[in-house]
Amino acid sequence: MLIPALVLGPILLGFAALLIPRHAHGAAKVYGYVIALAVTIATIASASAPDATVRWLSRPFEAAFHLGWTGIGYWLAVLLAIVTLCALVAVRASRQRDFVASILVLEGAMMGVFAAKDLLLFALFWDLMLIPVFFILVGWGPAVATAWRYLLYNLVGGLTLLLATAAFGIAYGSTDVIGRTGVTPLGDVWAPWIFAGFALAFLVKTPVWPLHTWMPATYADLPPEVAAIVSAVQSKAGLYGFIVIGIPLFGSAMHAAQPLMFVLGLIALLYGGYIALVENDAKRVVAYSSLSHLGLILLAVFSGNDLALRGAFVYLIAHGLFSAALFLVLGYVERREETRLLDRLGGLGTRNPRLAGALVLPALAALGLPGLAGFAGEILILTGLYRAGYVWPAVIALIPVVLAAAYMLRVYQGMMHGPSVADLPERPDLNWVEGIALAPLVIAFVLLGIQPLPVANGLTFVAAQTATAQGPAPPPSPTPQVTWVTIPGSMGGWVLKQVVYPTQAPQK
């Protein structure tokens, strides 16, 4: 029952937080922080927790309250727990009690998305996780219009997800299929349409050009702690959906959609990178850099290549860690200087050396410095794309990697270097609470950069299914070829066990 407790606990305790007196800001913070710490420890410890199932519907299709971990789902849940913990340590908001309560509810709902092993339950938590963010945008954001845009875009996605889930349930007879092997693929009449419904929801959530227009304003208007959670974890839900729903259940449809997705992914990569290069608002720079980075993961997910997919896992977690850290640090800067426009800021580094240090680490991870987690993911994805024969996409995908260095250094330089701006307020340097809030993230992306294997291998079930992704009927016993790949230029040289399944021609 550990996994249901991880999902329901934060939601119920979040509502219970409303019993704390309204003005007890300190108590609310400690309350949230203690719960988030407990959730983090329990999540990490739950790696081998058994699934929990309660029957839900039996007609018109079978559905169950089925919670459990898929490989990547577990790692995303760990990411969620860590990022939430850091956000709650860093939190400082008006009406703090309500803020903490919203974050806890958000954590529980997102935990549900990553733990759901039933499509209907997945759709349920998918819709549920939008509500706290909407209310945070309304209550603590500068413009209500942003909240509406966020909600409407994502709810339309959520509704197509719902329709697709209902159609899947009717066509297959059960929705209790996530992470289950041996699911017979749907026929060609249904599968493309149902997959299109899922894909629209996932693409809006990720987001991908041209469905991204809700994203920059949302990330910019959210308080930094919640922006960290949303950009680090919630945006991963779409890619997670492609991995655990798309690949195993809609292999041939995924294959058919590949050209389109490659184009969308490459546009997101280049467009996001370019806007990040010219944008003046630091938070929007990070937002557009997310667009760019997640485009790369989309390529990897649709490449059908095992190595690239493993890279996608690593990069999903890595991007979560460094983007959360970036948003938190930008929040610190904004709290001090009351602006986040790059042309207003400057010269902070001389007075605030610790703040500058706190910014430079996640920025380096984001631009893909070898040894940090970002590089580990990028190199695996690019190598995988190249090996799978997608030479030109791999080459084009290199461009934003270079752009990343430019825009990340531009942010750092614009804030920390240069002459001091006279009319900016002088505030104290990074304090220890703010430092502690960042520490888990920094430690995690350094560790992941040195040793990405646990995450890269944590997807055994999906990897096994990529073989069947190419066609409806798997051969009786595909003999995998095992090769050992050494990644050149890695610190110490990573050795990856790569399992290559014989490729099959897609069935007509």
């Binding site: 839900w56 209907l120 349920l124 509500i131 209310f135 309304v138 209500v144 909600l151 159609a167 009717i170």
Partner: protein, 474 residues
């Protein structure tokens, strides 16, 4: 003359719940004469609710015992029991709402009229004969004409007049349709329609009949009376109309579509199109409303569209899910009305959107309950609205009406804006309310709020629909 050859004792038992409800109304009227002051309000409501609960128990005894009473004019069975229970529960809710609004000296009369209207709706749930259908419909409507005009406001009188004229016109259409159906089959029994050959008279008759149905269900484009009437009528009456009338008419429609004319399914296609339009235009209309009662009226138009869509495949599962969603709608909608009742005073129903500004600061529990009911109406998890929509989507896709499912999604997307707009108003921090609000002096609506919230949550997590619901015609 020996009546025993026409009416047996079993026939009388079949009608017993209806008689109980009607007799309770008489008791209320008599007791009302001996009471005065504030107490009469609670005595009347108490007697009414007790009578309804007793009728509900008797009604439940009929479940699983199908029986055709009065020469097949009134058919009892799982179908009529389920719909009658929905009617009874909704009536209890609306009596709870009368506790806070209206004048003390009107309570006796209005309670009696509500009970008689409920009796009419119950008659419709079992009606298997054109005459019984019309009898039930008129019994239901006559009480409502008077109830609509009860409040001392110009809008209330306007509502009563509007409802009287438009509803009579719809009844006229329906009656004309019935006459044509009679002409086509030579019988007023619905059973005569089974296997009736497709003739011009039958088609026109069904068409006119469905126009009447669409009007009573307030489907687009026959919905124009709904917002005005809902806004003008007293709160409890609006709540009553929004569920009880719909339950009665849906029962008639389902019996018609499932039992009487299963072989001419294509005749109903225009109705599904109207349902689809209602989902879109009902929600579009809700966007601009600044009065909660009007907003719920438009939302009701859309919600009835969802329910009607479930019937489109004429599958037994579709009917079960329509019943599930109707029950869910009962609790969601009446829960929302109960929250409005909490904010009502004797002469001012707190239904304007402005009165909800900053409600979360003043009455956090009421605001939370309202938010919950609105999110449920919007179809967000983990509520009955979500589960109900999933079930309807599934059965609609299953029946081959994918376009209806897609339009349902579009309508739902629009509706989010309408519902969440209200929530935003409630949770917007207000510096200080301009007027000092006086709240209802009673806790009775809270009963409705709590029961509704529990039911919406429980139905969302554990959807349960009785299995024996197929309508019969003999």
């Amino acid at each position: 003359m020996n009546y025993a050859q026409y009416f047996t004792q079993a026939d009388g038992w079949a009608l017993a719940p209806i008689f109980m409800v009607a007799a309770t109304a008489l008791v209320v009227l008599i007791v009302d004469l001996f009471e005065s002051g504030h107490a009469r309000r609670y005595v009347n409501i108490g007697i009414g609710i007790a009578g309804l609960i007793a009728a509900g128990f008797v009604e439940a005894q009929q479940y699983g015992h199908p029986y055709a009473a009065f020469s097949n004019a009134y058919v009892v069975g799982g179908f009529s029991v389920v719909f009658s229970e929905i009617v009874l529960i909704a009536t209890i809710f609306s009596l709870l709402l009368t506790a806070g609004v209206g004048r003390d000296d009107q309570i006796g009369g209005s309670t009696a009229l509500v009970l008689w209207s409920a009796a009419g709706a119950m008659l419709m749930t079992g009606a298997a004969n054109l005459m019984t259908i019309f009898l039930g419909l008129e019994l239901l409507s006559l009480g409502l004409y008077a109830l609509c005009g009860l409040a001392n406001r110009a809008t209330s009188h306007e509502a009563a007049l509007k409802y009287l004229i438009l509803s009579s016109m719809a009844s006229g259409f329906m009656l004309y349709g019935m006459a044509l159906l009679f002409g086509a089959t030579g019988s007023v029994g619905l059973a005569a329609l089974i296997g009736a050959p497709l003739s011009g008279m039958l088609v026109v008759g069904v068409g006119l009949f469905l126009v009447g149905i669409a009007f009573k269900l307030s489907l687009f484009p026959f919905h124009v009376w709904t917002p005005d009437v809902y806004e003008g009528a007293p709160l409890a009456v609006t709540a009553f109309m929004s569920v009880v009338t719909k339950a009665g008419v849906l029962a008639v429609l389902a019996r018609f579509a499932y039992a009487a004319l299963p072989q001419h399914r294509e005749l109903f296609v225009p109705l599904w199109i109207l349902a689809a339009l209602s989902m879109i235009f009902g929600n579009l209309g809700a966007l601009a409303q600044t009065d909660l009662k009007r907003l719920l009226a438009y939302s009701g138009i859309a919600q009835l569209g969802y329910i009607t869509v479930a019937l489109a495949g004429a599958t037994s599962l579709g009917l079960r899910y329509a019943i599930f969603y109707l029950t869910a709608y009962l609790f969601m909608n009446l829960g929302a009305f109960a929250v409005i009742a909490l904010l009502s005073r004797e002469h001012d129903e707190g239904s304007s959107l402005q009165a909800f500004g900053g409600l979360s600061e003043r009455k956090p529990w009421a605001a939370a309950a309202m938010a919950f009911f609105l999110l449920a109406l919007a179809g967000l998890p983990p509520t009955a609205g979500f589960t109900g929509k999933i079930l309807i989507l599934a059965t609609t896709v299953d029946a081959g009406y994918v376009w209806l499912a897609a339009l349902l999604i579009v309508g739902t997307a629009i509706s989010f804006y309408a519902y969440i707009k209200v929530i935003r108003v409630m949770y917007r921090p207000e510096p200080r309310p301009r007027t000092h609000y006086v709240y209802a002096h009673t806790l009775l609506p809270w009963v409705g709020v709590v029961v509704g919230a529990i039911a919406v949550l429980a139905m969302g997590l554990y959807p349960f629909v009785p299995s024996d619901v197929l309508p019969l015609v003999k």
